[in-house]
Amino acid sequence: MSQKPLAPAIEGWFTMDDQPRLIGTQCCACSTYFFPKQTRYCRNPDCDSTEFKEVELSRTGHVWSYTNACYKPPAPFVAAEPFEPYTLAAVTLEHEKMTVLGQVVTGVNVADLKVGMAMELVLEPLHETEDDIKMTWKWRPMADQGEQR
């Protein structure tokens, strides 16, 4: 990778620090979380609130399932040449009671994963532009697997 500055692939969807977190919203009336952010109307059928606060979601969770991408996806995906397969995981955040998809960090393969493994959120490059390196969230198995679910 070059010395270009780092920039979020999607502005405002996650923090850019060492312990990154996804940025969602929470309904001020019923406490439902939303990621991506929901700011206009609550989708809980029992709630008609229009007030939300921005919140950082848990940065750890457990694997719901996982796979990989062996073929290059179409645009807007920006693939490296030559294309390198990458791993993907759906991770359940217990506190928010929701599951979030994302790539898994480079170097971790399907064979390294299992449903229930503890994962944490980190940032890695998604692709490079003329001006900067676009970063995205990725899931990484935690060093301390603790109690698996």
């Binding site: 399932s65 062996c70 995906f77 979030v100 790539q103």
Partner: protein, 395 residues
């Protein structure tokens, strides 16, 4: 029964990659269905089309297009768009029209021509569009199917051999279906030798997209009696429910599920909810079902659907598969048409094609594919953006 509508005709243009205009497939299917019913086109009072989007014209592949091609005769038209469930919504519109007494006979048509290359979202930088977001992050359609498949492996102990066995089963029965696109009998070795797309799913675990057209002729019970078809298969239920909040399974094209964190909110499975409404409406249960046509976008997904339809306990579909219970001749045959594995998906036609198969099975006309003594059949499918359907046909 007064609240039931009869299906007196079914027709299909064979599935394939013919490269013709979709309207041609729809017209061929409609004419076959009319001939099957033995009624003239001018008797049809309502044309209900399943729509797809072409060249920025949503609805072009629709009721009026088919009506014009069949010869405008002043009937009323409808167009339904509901992704993979478009055909079922078009079917529901026709049934409702007849039940409301607004017409005696309706034709329901769905047809599609395969788009070239990947189905990809519009360009630009559009993070407000979930379909754009997921492709940008590298999440394709097979990603979702593979997540469901892998979860089955880790949670229920399903194996790659099980998934291959679904393909082998469907290709064997589909080889006897002249309307299917793929009629080769594949072996487990063929599946294992095909390229890995999204681990654990290989190319032959995932369905293709196809050209095809399907049509059904619906009529009132009174009209069916009048033309001597009082014993025609009847529509017992059409479920097109939305998911219930909080939808707990990550679904295409979303990158996250709903949150079930609010008080009083529970996590729900959309797929499992679709047949529940259908069973309620039909007043029957899964134990009454003789066969099912389910949306096997992947081999593993067929196993999910079998459990969602409650045809086996959760997690046990692979056991049934291994015993041959889901093959024709088994306890509960699934996809006796050969399923999407042998057809490939022609989106607005596919839900109707499922019903066509049930109609022919319930009439006992399926020859080598026949499910003996079939009286009740159910379909299930699911598409993008919270669309899905389950239809029950009985005789």
């Amino acid at each position: 029964m007064s609240n039931e509508v009869a299906i007196i005709g079914a027709g299909m243009h064979p599935w394939g990659k013919w490269g013709h205009n979709f309207v041609e497939y729809g017209v061929a299917a409609a004419r076959e269905a009319l001939a099957d019913a033995g009624i003239p086109w001018r008797d049809v009072g309502f044309v209900s089309g399943g729509a797809t989007v072409r060249c920025g014209y949503p609805g072009y592949v629709a009721g009026a297009t088919f009506a014009q091609a069949l010869g405008w005769q002043g009937c009323e038209v409808n167009t339904s768009y509901a992704a993979c469930a478009s055909g079922s919504q078009a079917l529901a519109a026709a049934r409702n029209k007849i039940l409301a007494g607004a017409c005696d006979v309706a034709v329901v048509i769905g047809a599609d021509t395969t788009p070239k290359g990947f189905l990809a979202p519009a360009g630009g930088y559009r993070p407000e569009d979930p379909d754009w977001v997921r492709f940008y992050l590298g999440i394709t359609n097979p990603t979702y199917f593979a997540l469901y498949a892998r979860r089955r492996m880790d949670v229920y102990g399903d194996t790659l051999e099980d998934f291959a066995a679904v393909k082998v089963k469907n290709s064997l029965i589909g080889s006897k279906n002249p309307r299917a696109r793929y009629r080769k009998c594949f072996t487990a070795e063929d599946v294992a030798a095909s390229a890995m797309v999204a681990d654990p799913l290989r190319l032959m675990d995932i369905c293709a997209t196809s050209d095809g057209g399907a049509a059904l002729i619906l009529c009132s019970a009174e009209y069916a009696r009048r033309i001597g078809k009082a014993d025609a298969p009847r529509i017992a239920a059409i479920s097109t429910v939305t998911p219930s909040f909080a939808s707990a399974v990550v679904e295409m094209p979303d990158i996250a599920t709903d949150s079930a964190a609010a008080a009083g909110i529970e996590a729900h499975s959309f797929r499992a909810a679709l047949p529940v409404k259908a069973y309620e409406e039909a007043g029957i249960g899964p134990e009454d079902v003789d066969l099912a046509e389910v949306y096997d976008l992947s081999t593993a997904l067929e196993l999910d659907w079998i459990e969602d339809l409650q045809l086996t306990p959760r997690g046990e579909a692979a056991h049934y598969l291994r015993r041959g219970d889901t093959a024709v001749g088994g306890k509960i045959p699934v996809n006796p048409s050969g399923g999407l594995a042998c057809f490939g998906e022609a989106v607005p036609a596919q839900a109707l094609a499922q019903v066509c198969e049930l109609v022919w099975q319930l009439r006992g006309e399926c020859g080598d594919r026949q499910v003996q003594g079939a009286r009740v059949g159910i379909t299930a499918n699911q598409g993008l953006f919270g669309h899905g359907s389950s239809v029950i046909i009985k005789r």
